[in-house]
């Protein structure tokens, strides 16, 4: 009976010990994924910003410019792309909708971002775009990979349609969460006019005819929770100018937008709460369960060895093997 219990304990010990690395290195990369149907919205504000009045073509100070950013997982498209990509893919249809202090639209930029559900690597497929222009992203956008490292990453800038390094600048504590701080500077770059302009009748083509060009620079800052790779907070020091051409009435340049864009307080709180709860789930797979199972496995192994040792009393003869009776010869 004691030997039987020892064998059961041994089987359980091997079971739990084997589960420990299997969970961490086999199950985690396959189970930790961005859900294909995720829907997320975010509100950012730029207080005391500068905004171009397209009626007078004069820059003016405004109390607030609001950016509403929505990301919506497109499940049907992700399933289509998965058939050829051979891996789990997430398709995010996004919209950055900028609202002036009067509640009117300043700009709206739709985009489609396609990426690997676990590694966050971009996946290239038909439909990948920014404001209707096909793009081939390199690097990450919006989110970092699970288990973010203390290093620079390549980050895609949707305005300039370029990928540039976003630098790791240190570890900080943001509202009780240990985060990695990243910063990217996009120098003054000539960018396209949005397809949808804030004034009816004005199109990017009609503006292009005047010879006026649009330029943009930004300093992008992200505070990223490293286990989930999710930014818990973000800021941007964003400037846009119109330069040259006949549209500016002889002026060299005029500010189209300048502002320090920050996440709205209620969205910061909800993001921090969400990231904290997702972090706990990931910790289960990367730490709590693997270490717990390993400890349990070793404990059960020790117990089974103990039972085995007690089962073999000193001086006991070795158990004889059962053997078939030999035939007796007459």
């Amino acid at each position: 009976m004691r030997r039987k219990a020892g064998l059961i304990l041994l089987a359980l010990a091997v079971f739990f010990t084997a589960l420990s690395p299997l969970l961490r290195w086999y199950a985690f990369p396959r189970l930790a994924k961005i859900p294909a149907n995720q829907y997320q919205d975010m509100v950012l504000e730029a207080k005391d910003a500068t905004l171009l009045d397209y009626g007078t073509m004069q820059a003016r100070k405004v109390p607030e410019v609001t950016i509403v950013q929505t990301l919506k997982g497109n499940v049907e498209e992700s399933e289509k792309i998965e058939k050829t990509a051979g891996r789990d893919v997430v398709v995010w249809d996004g919209l950055s909708y900028v609202v002036g202090p009067d509640g009117k639209m300043v700009s709206k930029i739709p985009e489609r971002y396609i990426f690997d559900a676990h590694t966050q690597e971009p996946v290239h497929a038909t439909g990948e775009m920014v404001d209707g222009d096909p793009v081939k992203r390199q690097g990450i956008e919006f989110k970092w990979p699970f288990l973010t490292e203390k290093r620079d990453y390549q980050y895609f800038d949707a305005q300039a349609r370029v990928t540039a390094p976003i630098h790791y600048k240190g570890t900080q504590n943001f509202r009780g969460v240990d985060v990695y701080y990243f910063e990217q500077t996009i120098p003054w770059t000539k960018v396209r006019f949005p397809r949808t302009m804030p004034v009816e009748g004005i199109t990017p083509e009609s503006v292009a005819k005047t010879g006026t060009t649009r330029w943009y620079t930004t300093v992008r800052k992200f505070w990223v929770e490293p286990l989930t790779g999710a930014p818990v907070y973000g800021e941007e020091i964003h400037k846009e100018e119109l330069r040259g051409g006949t549209l500016l009435g002889g002026r060299d340049k005029v500010t189209a937008f300048a502002g320090h864009v920050k996440m709205r307080e209620d969205y910061i709180e909800s993001t921090v709460d969400l990231v904290k709860s997702n972090r706990t789930l990931l910790l289960l797979l990367t730490s709590y369960l693997p270490w717990g199972f390993l400890a349990l496995g070793l404990l059960l192994l020790a117990l089974s060895l103990y039972l085995e040792a007690r089962g073999r009393r000193p001086g006991d003869p070795e158990p004889t093997k059962d053997s078939e009776p030999e035939p007796v010869t007459a």
Partner: protein, 44 residues
Amino acid sequence: MRALIAAATGLAVALALVFTITALGSPAGETSPKPLLTTVPAHP
């Protein structure tokens, strides 16, 4: 010999469990019916 069989059984069950869980994965669900926002939401 019996110890070896017990250990192999434990390992096989662990492998089977992890392979099954990862093969099942999680359902993709459906695309959210909520729209891409063009108004400022009052709260998250």
